[in-house]
């Protein structure tokens, strides 16, 4: 099915969806912020 193959090919070309240093920085910042919040919440619980 050539149509399906073309669609699959187009889809696979889009991966990875997001690949840039700026994105990684923002993503890791968000990650760290949430981990910090969790840590603070645990302290509050204690």
């Amino acid at each position: 099915d050539n149509s399906l193959l073309r669609q699959v090919s187009s889809l696979l070309r889009r991966l990875p969806a997001m690949e840039s240093e700026k994105f990684q920085d923002e993503f890791l910042t968000e990650f760290n912020d949430t981990l910090l919040m969790t840590y603070l919440a645990m302290l509050t619980n204690c």
Binding site: N2, S3, L5, R6, S9, L12, L15
Partner: protein
């Protein structure tokens, strides 16, 4: 996808015609298909048995042209221009559109310089006009033109006809994607089990502590 839906009828039409026509008419059919503004896929037409009979005849150049439109780029045409028929303006535009799709297959960020070289365009304005009017408006690509960094960021590009040798790569990528999705699901399951277990342990511990507090209160 949108682009496939749009050209499905066209492909059907050309395939049906190609199955019934003789060699001379096939050549003009190929010219019509390669100039059509909404058709970007040619492997179905290529696989019609009638067309393979063109090879070795006086119309074999038309067959080669169809193959170029299915798999090749504007640079491929320029290097083999002597062996191929002269392109009409519509065909030239189509081949350049297909070239952009091929470039987008390898890189998501296409520098203007590379695009201008591949498409034989002399200035940035002409390149941007081409990308906007011929590529984005026809729906074969979606992206962002970054004038500061002089590049075209491709968010989506329609698929070209895949060559047989590309299939193994596609299968491998899909397998790897399937594998990572499976292991992700597995990890999520594990985390759910862990969360349930921790919740039970926490409840048990809380009850133990409360019982101890009661005991101590009573003893006091």
């Amino acid at each position: 996808m949108e682009i496939e839906r749009k050209q499905a009828e066209l492909i059907d039409h050309f395939v049906k015609h190609a199955a019934t026509l003789e060699a001379p008419q096939l050549a003009s059919l190929i010219a019509e298909a390669t100039s059509h503004p909404s058709l970007f896929a040619f492997s179905e037409i290529l696989s019609v048995p009638n067309l393979s009979k063109l090879q070795g005849t006086q119309y074999s150049t038309s067959f080669d042209l169809l193959r170029l439109f299915a798999y090749g780029t504007w640079s491929d045409y320029k290097s083999n221009a002597g062996c191929l028929p002269a392109l009409l303006p519509d065909q030239a535009r189509k081949l350049k559109q297909l070239t952009v799709l091929t470039l987008a297959e390898t890189d998501k960020v296409l520098p203007y310089d590379q695009l201008m070289q591949e498409l034989d365009v002399s200035n940035v304005r002409e390149l941007e006009d081409f990308l906007i009017n011929e590529c984005m408006y026809s729906g074969i690509v979606r992206g962002k033109l970054d004038q500061l960094r002089r590049c075209f960021e491709v968010q989506f590009a329609a698929g070209r006809d895949p060559r047989p040798e590309q299939l193994s790569n596609m299968i491998q990528t899909l397998t790897s994607w399937l594998g990572s999705s499976d292991s992700l699901l597995h990890s999520i399951q594990e985390k759910i089990k862990w969360a349930d277990m921790m919740s039970e342990a926490n409840k048990k511990h809380r009850k133990e502590v409360e019982d101890r507090v009661e005991d101590v209160k009573k003893s006091i």
